[in-house]
Amino acid sequence: MSKKRVLWIEDGALTDLPQLVGPVYVDGNIALTVALDASDGFRKLRTEEYHAVIVDIRLPPGNDDVWIRLFEAVKQDKTQARLGLVLLDACLGTPVPELRTEPRPEWWSESGRFAVFSVEHQRELASDLRRLNLTLYRQKSARESRLVLLELIRSILDNHATVPTNAESPD
């Protein structure tokens, strides 16, 4: 069986949370791609299709001028900027004009492929999650085990019974 393509957009992936990827790789059924900032994450979303996308809300902008401008517009604070939400809006909701993508990838409309893994309490994001029709959410906390990322990915994959034909990844 071909591996499921999973994109994890998380700036702490290499520094704070590398331990989470061990179980994902060892699972054997997941081809994990990591993006460390909004620029790189959005670039990957536009060029490839993924079975599952896990997004952090507090992202740095990266090197793309559009994202840098969006970041600077909110006093250059990633807590306030919430670029992860901007990115999710670009895919699932109403994108800011600079992020409109034509044609819009069809798979972006499947909100079930997306999940949020962030430090905020779910309450803080409730209205945004509702608006984007996002049901899968995990809060980062010291109490979570190293299996949390794998569990989140499996929740997404298990909820998707049918897999679109162009989502196969070459092994």
Partner: protein
């Protein structure tokens, strides 16, 4: 019979008329205190009294008929002008008005008031001459001229409120002459407000600011000083007043009175301070309704607490001796109505030309609401400081707990204290291969017997095969180097799990033991790599927490207790000592360019050490991470430039974008765009704190960042930059 007075024909012969004339002549000659004259149309004096001789200083032996009045006019044309006025009045059947004319009597100019009438023949109407009287009004005229030169308005009002006279300044103020006007029309009085006249009638005088209305209808504020005029029977006959426009001052006064700060002026006489002026807020602060309640009071009594007042005066004089005003002094006062609270005073002493203190001016602020808030902030600061102290202790506990495990693993694996990324990679690769080999050996052993295969189970064998493949291909499967240790850890852990699943006794124990042992070694190695990072993170966090704690609690430490001359070499040495362990952990070499100049700066030593340490720490933190080859470096150097010491901290490291250098980099919580790599943890407080401390002690800090490689027009930020932090501080002392 007097030949010079022409009268009606029949009366000439009447002896009584002649006697009357003679008597009149006698009277006018000696009794009247005014100069009376009769002149020909050409101006020759035909008759006069003694007063005229006196006024014009005509010698007694000079024949009066030889004197011509024309010769006394200072301006010869004035006589003609005067006679024109007389003729005009005669034409319309009116008496001519009195006229003021300038005369020249020898060397002396005088001013006379002339009342002049033409004399005509009653039958023919022929002009026979002029008669009139003169009064010397030199003094009055000088006064009038002076009044008109005054910039202040002067006017007089009669008992009927009609303006009798005014000077030019008054006319300018109202936009025209106001003589003859009812003065009440010029006041913009609020309903039921007393009129100026009422106050003058009652008190004999009045001094106040009134809202007035000019002739053009424009409103303005005027200060009027009025004094009553009484007639010969002591009854009210009007008043005289000065008037000046105080619109600007009045606006300023209203603004001062509306201000939420208490403005005041004190005059000092014989060692006693008295309130000489203040605004309403000042009065309110001290528990009074209006300024007039406070003006004239002794400041000592106003303050209520003698000890605090003396302390304030001592501080004020001390600051004054250094040429400074006293700013932000908080003082506890007790008002006359018993309230106790804090005020903030800002005051400046006033001196006369001899340097003697004659008073002071100041501003006071009621701190009633602020002090509780300030106390709250102080409490919160203490709480946060305490919490951060607890965090430091917690970090220390974590470090102490991690250290034995890490030391044990290092011992078992024969690993050095510091292991480079390259060495770690090599060791991982070796152990992964070793484990893969162990698994291969186990598989060969198991597959050699159907019984062994059954005992181990297909499932376990397949899993071992899968894990073995992962071990052999992990470098291809896991492209990101940072992910390899956790992946290998997971693989090793899974292998040990499989080994546990194999029934005891199913196969030779040493086969599974060897696999399990090699898996344990790989697991431990991955743990060491992870714990090394934990240890470094604890180290960095400890510095950040302590630095943050110091930054937050610095406000609670008073400057007076801390500021002194501090030797720059000591500051630099101590700052470097604070970060030398951190530098070692990050494989960064801290170079010192000696000697450091033997000078001192005036600063709070603890704060300045922290400020410089933060900059050096920053330089180390953002050094270019080199996985192999020579260490990154930070260089610290210092030299004297004029009257300043210049301390430079240079690093070979992460670029700072040009548009971040000016001020973004110093903002609280800021992280550089290229420093968002999470391997460099930090609160973003360090440079903010450093800048504040340095500027507080009259220094400056600037950052310069430039690429290390030659660039084309556009700067490439994907390369190391040379970043130099330059701290300049004024030298307070040159040490030997």
């Amino acid at each position: 019979m007097c030949p010079y007075f022409y009268i009606e024909g029949d009366n000439v012969a009447d002896s009584r008329a002649v006697s009357a004339l003679q008597r009149f002549h006698e009277m006018t000659s000696d009794v009247f205190p005014v100069a009376i004259y009769l002149v020909s149309p050409e101006g020759v004096i035909l008759a006069s009294n003694t007063e005229l001789r006196k006024l014009l200083r005509i010698p007694a032996d000079e024949e009066i008929a030889t004197v011509n009045l024309r010769g006394f006019y200072r301006d010869p044309d004035d006589r003609d002008r005067m006679l024109d006025v007389v003729a005009q009045a005669e034409n319309i059947g009116k008496l001519p008005a009195r006229q003021i004319v300038d005369f020249q009597i020898g060397e002396d100019p005088i001013t006379v008031q002339i009342d002049c009438r033409p004399l005509r023949d009653s039958e023919s109407g022929e002009l026979l001459g002029y008669t009139g009287y003169m009064i010397d009004v030199t003094l009055e005229e000088n006064s009038r001229k002076l009044l008109n030169l005054l910039s202040e308005g002067v006017f007089e009002v009669d008992e009927g409120s009609i303006v009798q006279s005014s000077n030019y300044a008054t006319a300018r103020l109202f936009g025209g002459a106001i003589e003859g006007m009812d003065v009440r029309a010029l006041f913009s009085l609020a309903p039921n407000a007393p009129a100026l006249e009422d106050i003058v009638r009652e008190n004999g005088s009045a001094k106040d600011v009134w809202e007035m209305c000019s002739l053009a209808g424009e409103r303005f504020f005027a200060e009027i000083n009025a004094a009553v005029l009484l007639n010969s029977t002591g009854e009210f006959a009007g008043y005289q007043a000065t008037i000046r426009d105080v619109s600007v001052t009045e606006q300023y006064r209203k603004m001062l009175n509306d201000a939420p700060l208490g403005f005041y002026m004190v005059s000092t006489r014989n060692g006693e301070d008295t309130v000489s002026n203040c605004n309403r807020k000042f009065a309110n602060i001290f528990g009074f309704k209006s300024e007039s309640d406070v003006i004239g009071m002794r400041m000592r009594n106003l303050h209520g607490e003698a000890k605090n007042y003396e302390k304030f005066l001592t501080k004020l004089r001390h600051e004054n001796s250094e040429g400074n005003p006293l700013l932000g002094h908080k003082i506890h006062i007790k008002t006359h109505d018993g309230r106790k609270f804090f005020i903030e005073v800002n005051a400046q002493l006033l001196h006369n030309h001899s340097g003697e203190i004659i008073g002071r001016v100041g501003v006071v602020r009621d701190l009633s609401d602020e002090i509780p808030a300030a106390l709250q902030v102080k409490e919160m600061t203490n709480d946060i400081g305490h919490i951060l102290h607890t965090y430091s202790a917690t970090l220390q506990m974590i470090q102490i707990s991690v250290d034995p495990a890490l030391s044990a693993y290092r011992r078992d694996l024969e690993l050095p204290q510091q292991i480079s990324a390259d060495d770690a990679e090599h060791r991982l690769s070796r152990e992964a291969l070793h484990l893969a080999d162990s698994i291969a050996a186990l598989k060969v052993y198991v597959k050699g017997s159907a019984e062994h295969i059954k005992a181990v189970s297909e499932q376990n064998l397949n899993e071992l095969t899968r894990l073995q493949a992962l071990l052999l291909n992990y470098e291809t499967e896991v492209q990101t180097p940072e992910f390899r240790p956790p992946v290998l850890l997971e693989i090793a852990s899974s292998v040990r799990g499989v080994c546990r699943n194999i029934k005891k006794g199913a196969i030779a124990r040493e086969m599974t033991r060897r696999v399990a042992s090699d898996a344990l070694i790989l697991e431990q190695l991955c743990c060491v790599i992870a714990l090394n990072r934990v240890e470094q993170t604890i180290f960095e966090m400890d510095y950040e927490v302590r630095s943050l704690r110091d930054y937050i609690t610095q406000a609670e430490r008073t400057d007076e207790e801390r500021i002194s001359d501090v030797a720059v070499p000591d500051l630099i040495r101590q700052s470097i000592a604070n970060v030398v362990d951190y530098a070692r952990k990050r494989n960064v070499e801290v170079r010192r360019k000696l000697p450091f100049p033997a000078v001192s700066v005036r600063a709070a030593e603890r704060d300045m050490i922290r400020a410089i340490t933060n900059v050096v720490h920053n330089a180390i933190k953002y050094s270019w991470i080199r996985d192999s080859g020579e260490n990154s470096w930070v260089e610290v150097r210092a030299d004297v430039t004029g009257k300043e010491i210049r301390i430079e901290i240079e690093d070979y490291g992460v670029p700072i974008h040009a548009d971040e250098i000016e001020d973004k980099i110093f903002k609280f919580g800021a992280r550089g765009r290229f420093a968002s790599n999470r391997r460099r943890i930090g609160t973003g407080v360090g440079l903010t704190d450093s800048k504040r401390v340095i500027e507080r002690f009259r220094g400056k800090i600037r950052i310069f960042s430039r690429p290390t490689r030659a660039t084309t027009r556009e700067i490439q930020y994907n390369q190391p930059f040379l970043t130099t932090a330059v701290i300049t501080l004024p030298i307070s002392r040159y040490n030997r």
